[in-house]
Amino acid sequence: MPQVAAQPPETRSYNKALRLTFEYEGSSVKLVSTQRVDMILPPSHPLETKEEQSGFWFTLSDAQGKPVYRRAVTNPIRYDREVFSNDPAHPSIQRVPVEKPKGTFVMLVPDVSNARTVQLFSHPLEPAAAARGLPARELAKFTITPEQIQEGNKQ
């Protein structure tokens, strides 16, 4: 009997999460808080890609460096911003550069006891380079220690 040996990773659903809050200034990213929360996470995207890709994604890996969760998301490190016009003659969306990129963003990863390494991957952040679609590379890597984890709200 033909069998598929394991379920596709994207069908797995996690119901315990770590809420990771990052701050960035330019391409420098810091993990500033880690909260444990009871919540269902969206399914993982495929853990590996067949080819190089542009864009932004994050992975959670286990102690052996094997990815257990990956999500491709819109780049939260903003080197440009969207501007919306409601001019009825020229309704449009365009982008403008950010002079000093700085801000805060959140990532949600599964709370898996043996998986505590989070990597952020991004194409080059400058808008001109981003529009060219250069392949994403590791931007930052963090190891979450038990001491960092705070208990968040649970329902």
Partner: protein, 369 residues
């Protein structure tokens, strides 16, 4: 103009489909509402929630969604509106410091997103998506990790577009960076790697394109081509609006990057999400539904196959089964077993038999206890 200029009053669940631990949670905050205006904020939230409920596919996924409102009072009403951008010069004291004219752009309405995250982390850390409504009728908004928009007519569309980015990872489907007609350079043709986002691609091959299953055999691939890559494609849609294909012009480039439909909310506000975006939204919110499509597969003619399905909970599911995608197709299946795994997850196995003479594509379906 900071957290000293108001108070976090509290959090209220305004759409309740179950515990936050089980649902997809949207959190809405307000800025520039005085304590005496919080009732107005409640109404403004309700208006946006109704708009969202009327927006496919959120309407069909509504049972998987909770909405929470965090009441935050400000000392003053409104948002900063600098004279430098032609504004009134108002500088109200508000909790999240909402302001137009960021980067010298009048319509760019932003808040202190670090402070927004701090409040959400304290009040509702189970948030999947965060929005801020600013108490001003002047048109404006912005995206990023926190979607921000005003009360102007149509500004709620900014929230829906930004939710596409933040919650579902959609790329922009518009084909210019600085605007069509801006004379921009460096955006003639996308020559880079395949984008990771689900709604743009460089691949026009119908055998490998990532949304190929939605492309009809009669639809040309690519579906449109831009004849002059030095500018945005001026041609109209040559096919019915619902046609899925590969339309050239997306991801800030006039050529070389393709979008699934001629129009989409990720290309221009006021349009529905395209079929590809809607599918991703459904897939993302599926685990929060009482019943959902778990995954999709195909079984060959005359074949019997077994699949393992893992659910991170025990007991997790009341029922699992399969549903052919093609109306009229038939499959037999049984679920001979399940086991609880260490850590509280459940492993099911399901055997599917296709007695017909053609391959059958089907959904795995599940429903929760």
């Amino acid at each position: 103009m900071s957290a000293a200029d108001g108070n976090v009053v509290g959090t209220t669940q305004i759409v309740d489909h179950g515990p936050a631990s089980q649902k997809w949670n949207l959190v809405i905050l307000g800025d520039g509402y005085k304590q005496s205006e919080l009732t107005k904020f409640h109404t403004d939230c309700a208006i946006f929630v109704n708009t969202m409920f009327g927006t496919p596919p959120y309407d069909e996924l509504w049972c998987g969604i909770n909405v929470y409102r965090i009441d935050v009072s400000s000392t003053d009403s409104g948002a900063d509106d600098p004279v430098a951008c032609g504004g009134s010069g108002a500088t109200p004291k508000t909790y999240f410091d909402a302001s137009f004219c960021n980067g010298g752009i009048q319509r760019l309405l932003e808040v202190n997103n670090s402070l927004v995250h701090a409040v959400v982390n304290a009040q509702m850390p189970q948030a999947h998506m965060i929005m801020v409504i600013v108490n001003t009728t002047e048109y404006g908004g912005s995206g990023g990790d926190v979607a921000t928009f005003s009360l102007a007519a149509g500004a709620g569309e900014i929230g829906l577009h930004e939710m596409g980015h933040t919650a579902f990872g959609f790329a922009d489907e518009y084909e210019s960076w600085a605007g069509c007609g801006s004379g921009e350079t460096g955006h003639d043709k996308y020559t880079g790697a395949e984008p990771s986002q689900p709604n743009v691609t460089t691949d026009t091959n119908r055998a490998t394109n990532k949304w190929r299953d939605l492309v009809a055999a009669a639809t040309p691939m690519p579906t449109t081509a831009n004849k002059d890559c030095s500018k945005c494609d001026p041609q109209g849609n040559p096919l019915p609006a619902s046609t899925v294909g590969a339309y050239e012009g997306a991801l800030y480039n006039h050529c070389g990057a393709y979008r699934p439909q001629f129009n989409c909310r990720m290309r221009a506000l006021g349009n529905p999400y395209c079929a590809v975006c809607q599918r991703v939204i459904r897939q993302t919110i599926a685990p929060y539904m009482a019943s959902w499509t778990w995954g999709t597969s195909t079984i060959g003619a005359g074949q019997t196959q077994r699949w393992w399905l893992s659910w991170n909970g025990y007991p997790g599911l009341e029922w699992i089964g399969v549903q052919p995608v093609t109306p009229g197709a038939e499959l037999d299946w049984d679920t001979p077993g399940m086991q609880e795994n260490p850590g509280g997850s459940t492993l099911y196995w399901i055997t599917v038999r296709n007695k017909s003479a053609v391959p059958v594509t089907f959904h795995f379906r599940g429903s929760m206890l």
